[in-house]
Symmetry: C2
Subunit: 332 residues, 2 copies
């Protein structure tokens, strides 16, 4: 019981394939009785158009590619899920790839996607990515690209949150609740996301005349282990921090473990605020005050930007999705 094709339907009914094609697509030029016969046979035999033949014919794949540092990470999983559903509404399929937050793997992902002839790509670059030439190359071969979550000073459309601004909110909030020595736990300094957030943090410290102590700023590779190590170092300082800002979910959870391992209480001994998803904040105990990033909107906007480009819009757009601090129990 193989799948039936238009040609086979045509043969059975002794008509031409082109007639079958028209009938199946509801085009004019087929008598209604013949159309009925064709449609009912197609239905009976479970006819499904072959999308590969259609793609080949139209030279269009109706497929887009997604690259994320880790699909199983809550934040990205939610964004990807939303991009998918938006894409499907417009008849696009998604190919999802995982760069493992590594530059080399990211290049492989893009290569795979280009091989698959995707019509566009939505990507959150790896934390290692400082050279964007592989992405800019995509535009040369006419593959529209949208960056999200992490962008850079390149001429490519992007969707990010108001990074510096949220860091300001967080820092001010901590100061207002009595924190004197706020530590900053970020990603690599070369990531614009990190530098922006750090900038917001430093700005507020300056405004409030709080001395900036660079031993309280830890910007290293983002991973659970480095978060653990960095936090333990912070807690071992002669004057340890009484608050921590962590710019990534992994850094939040690892920092909390480090704090716990030292027998300190949150928020009494030390406060913590993280950039993390609401759901993870809710699971943690105490619930973590967090920067709500609205993954749904990021997903929607990212697809929209790509969709516009797919439809011929050539201007580069930078969308800022407003994120805001949500206080829970890890701050005073």
């Amino acid at each position: 019981m193989k799948r039936i094709s238009q040609r086979e339907i045509a043969n059975i009914l002794n008509v031409n394939v082109s007639t079958v094609s028209r009938a199946l697509r509801g085009l004019d030029g087929v008598s209604s009785e013949l159309r009925q016969k064709i449609l009912s046979l197609a239905k009976e035999q479970g006819y499904r158009p072959n999308p590969f033949a259609v793609s080949l014919r139209y030279d269009t794949t109706r497929t887009i590619g997604i690259v994320v540092p880790d699909v199983s990470f809550n934040h990205y999983a939610h964004i990807v899920k939303r991009i998918e559903s938006e894409a499907r509404k417009e008849g696009y399929m998604c190919i999802i790839t995982d760069s493992d937050d590594k530059f080399e793997t990211e290049k492989n992902c893009l290569d795979l996607l280009v091989n698959m002839h995707v019509e566009g790509i939505i990507i959150c670059v790896s934390q290692e990515t400082t050279d964007f030439s592989h992405i800019q190359h995509l535009r040369k071969v006419h593959v529209p690209v949208v960056l999200f979550d992490r962008d850079a000073d390149v001429d490519i459309s992007s969707v990010i949150i108001n990074d510096a601004d949220t860091a300001r909110q967080v820092t001010e909030n901590l100061i207002d609740s009595g924190a004197k020595r706020i530590a900053f736990l970020g990603g690599p300094n070369k990531m614009k996301q990190t530098s922006e957030r750090k900038h917001g943090y430093l700005e507020v410290l300056r405004e409030r005349n709080i001395p900036i102590r660079k031993e309280l700023v830890k910007c290293n590779y983002i991973s659970y282990n480095s978060g653990l190590t960095d936090t333990l170092e912070l807690l071992s300082l002669p004057q340890p921090p009484d608050a921590i800002i962590a710019t990534h979910g992994l850094l939040v959870t690892s920092a909390m473990r480090a704090i716990e391992s030292r027998g300190l209480r949150i928020p009494d001994d030390i406060q913590i605020v993280g950039y993390m998803s609401d759901w993870v904040s809710e699971v943690a105990s105490p619930r973590v005050s967090f920067v709500e990033q609205n993954q749904k909107e990021i997903g929607v906007k990212a697809f929209k930007l790509l969709f516009d480009q797919l439809n011929g819009d050539t201007c580069v757009q930078h969308v800022i999705v407003k994120a805001r601090l949500e206080t829970r129990e890890s701050t005073k």
Copy 2:
């Protein structure tokens, strides 16, 4: 700068496409100098084979479909990620769909996948699914299927964990640590996964001569809210439970919230064990004793089962991935 095709290469070099095709694929029958010319031109022009033409030609799509109740849920995200990487090793692409844990959406997902002419499908059915005819239908149209995580008494290959056995381990462990009134928080009774786990739980109670109190067994729709409601009801009983077994991540976290809202302490006032991913257990506080489900192995085995079928193996296999209790801080 359009993508270049074999024909164009052939035209430029004044040779035939078939020669180009052979050269590009490294087949015999091309002089090495001509092959060199072809390869270098292809490279220079960034030639990429059109996978749609190849698929059409071979009548094979090298694509498989995945259906899960919620891609953004940690447990499934990890399994999907693993299936993807296994599939890629064998040259298969994955189309990932999300049934939202609903029967109707699940049918739509399958329809979409069949339309895309996937060569096989790996699916975790929704909690609403009791009728498996839509899945059995797939076999009629020669689309191999593998169930995972949740199976049923149907003649389809599957990968699940040792459900009843893990429930036994959990129950025994709780009894040994002094629990007298163990509640069971499960999914719908019609789900085999639930009934198996419940069976293990009840069996141990009988063996240990512990009276079975049916008000301690709550098997309803799986959701955060129902978990909350059910747990609050449990805690309001004249003789509330001193331990809870929760068979789904959502039920674990909601139960913990309910417990917290009543001002009870874990594990002193009430113990809890959950079927959840290690990562979520690690984030929670106290760390939750959990049934380690080894998502990687589930993913690997699920793809292997499908791959075997794709290669002509017709026998139905049921694989049991050994899960085991990992005790943390939520039990004594």
